[in-house]
Amino acid sequence: MFWKFTLFETKLLLKNRKSWFVAVFLLVIFALFFMYYSQDEPVSLKDKKRAETNTSYAVFEYLDLQRHDLPEVAEVYNYHTQIQSLLGMQLWYIGNGDDSDQYIENGLEINKLRLTVHELGNDGIPEHLIVTKEDILKEDALLHYIKDNNLPIESDSFATNHYITNALAMISGLLFLVIVLISGNEMLIYEQRHQSVMKGFPLSFMSKIYSKIMIYFTHVYSFLLLGFLVGSIYVANKFQASEFSFPVLVYKNENFIALSTGQYLFYIFLGFGLVILLLLSLSILLNMLFKNAFANILIGLGFFILPDIATAAGIHAPFLHPIKYIDMYKVLSGDLATTLGNGSIDYWNAMATLGIITLVLIGIIYAVNKFAYQRVPKNVPLEKAF
């Protein structure tokens, strides 16, 4: 019975124009993004290092204005001199020196020194010229990964990674929330327009719900993967670089680790899968409570911006933070941990929280349905909605 119902629901989904709009959107969004975004070339390693060296010179100008006889400033000055020298060497190794190993060793040394300067409180360095601890840890993780996996320090595959992660950043969060909410906004309430046909099947309510979630999940997830695949093929062809062994930085345990692109994609799409399950469960619950397709989208969006509103209003509400975990890109990049000022928000922490929220939502759906059977009518008879 469950599978027969699932088959019918699938047929309805395939006949629904909205489902096809969502599918087409997911299919083309990545390719369009890559086409547009790939007009901008990512900054080359050499340019990046030159910019870093210039920033470092600027630091010297500030340090020169300080009293060098103060021991704290003198120590920072000393370390910074070493950093400046190593940066210069790195530029040489990228260019005429052509020695990747030395480039990496110097880079690792720079990171150590920068962390020491951090420990000293960055005395004498103005705020805007301080290299953040987060950036140092990222660079360190990246260099270690390149060293351990014996990868070239500059490759077109870095550019591919750059575009892929940017595309995922674009879709993750608000846009993805809207797509899933639109996709699932009528999951249950469409039945109200066909009440006399759909009511009274000898099938439990929860079986119907599982069937619907399964179908909508498969629909959104498969077109998301397919769309990403189409986009990736485009970008890999354009840059002739499609190696998924190049690193992407991921925030973990208040630190950064580098993962291969393949691993990164596995984690982020696993995360997207869980986010879809959560949002579809939320859609079902909102359908049950408000019986309105637009309410589903508006309330869903309202939930998402609730932590921002709370922050803007000066209300400290960490219990609202998990709502933001649906932005998987920001969870993985560590941006969310920084924005919310909560270092413990990493991938597995977010996944566990989202998993628990999904189970709680399903529990509430079960309880609301169960409650309908326990209720005793008083002044008016009770109408069964679904």
């Binding site: 119902f5 088959l7 000898p202 439990s204 059977y373 009518p377 008016v380 069964k384």
Partner: protein, 296 residues
């Protein structure tokens, strides 16, 4: 098979069903007659648990009641309701709809073809519902419930929008279903049609059953003739006390308690004052309907 006890449905001051009780057995077709808005659909909704009444019980097969979802599923395995044609899916075909009902109740759709052939739907059943006329949609709704093939069926306004040929086709199918031992409730405004296949007709008024007409069993016969109100006023004094004057046009004189001579005497007497034809027989569904609802 089905027992309703003291079912009450009321919305604040408006009582829709008032302490209604009834029992029904397999192999019966029960007609439900009442004007619009008098609780026929509400009664069906209570039987199928789409509406939980303020008071009363619905029991199936002696002990099954809508106490838990599990029990509701057990009951719904034996009960299908007639869909509204406005609720059909415009983008799906007739076969899709029939297969849905067949699969949900029988777990298979092998018998679907046989049903649409019996109902002469081959010409359009594979087209999208949005191309169907009113009558085609109604036939599809009937085909769906036939595909569900449950022991109990609730059919609200089953003959709506059907032409004479299709009314006859569906009526024959209903009789076949009755022979198969199904319990079928039919709410219909096509009163003379109910006389064809219903075993009982229930008249609903004021939230309760005010009359139960048992077909083919009644011994109450009447001489029936048309009479205008002015004419009736003139002759009323000479009619027997237990005569009926229904809806200001039909005069009915009971003859069950008369001997043959007395009956002949009345026929001769009435032949002189009748306006149209004079008939002898029991009261039909249409006559009862007029009797109970004319004033409304």
């Amino acid at each position: 098979m089905l027992k309703l006890e003291n079912v009450t449905v009321k919305y604040k001051d408006k009582v829709v069903l008032d302490n209604l009780s009834l029992t029904a057995e397999s192999g019966e077709i029960i007609g439900l007659v009442a004007p619009n808005g008098t609780g026929k659909t509400t009664l069906f909704n209570v039987i199928s648990n789409f509406l939980k009444p303020n008071k009363g019980n619905v029991t199936f097969q002696g002990n099954l009641q809508y106490k838990t979802e599990r029990k509701e599923i057990s009951i719904h395995k034996q009960l299908a309701t007639f869909p509204d044609q406005g609720d059909l899916f415009e983008e799906l075909t007739g076969v899709d709809h029939m297969k849905l009902y067949a699969n949900m109740w029988k777990g298979t759709s092998k018998h679907v073809k046989e049903i649409y052939e019996q109902l002469h739907m081959e010409g359009y059943v594979k087209k999208k519902v949005k191309t169907y006329s009113l009558g085609m949609r109604q036939r599809l709704c009937f085909a769906m419930i036939a595909a569900a093939d449950t022991p109990m069926m609730l059919m609200d306004e089953v003959m709506n929008g059907l032409d004479v040929a299709n009314v006859s086709l569906i009526s024959n199918h209903l009789m076949k279903m009755k022979q198969d031992g199904k319990l079928i409730f039919v709410a219909s405004h096509l009163l003379s049609n109910l006389d064809l296949y219903a075993d009982r007709v229930l008249y609903l008024k004021g939230g309760d059953i005010i009359h139960e007409q048992t077909m083919n069993k009644t011994t109450d016969e009447y001489i029936k003739f048309e009479l205008a109100p002015e004419q009736y006023k003139k002759v009323a004094y000479m009619l027997p006390e237990d005569h009926l004057y229904i809806a200001n046009h039909l005069c009915c004189i009971p003859i069950s308690n008369m001997d043959t001579d007395e009956q002949k005497e009345w026929v001769v007497k009435l032949a002189a004052i009748k306006e149209k034809e004079l008939t002898i027989g029991p009261l039909g569904t249409a006559e009862f309907y007029e009797k109970y609802y004319h004033e409304d």
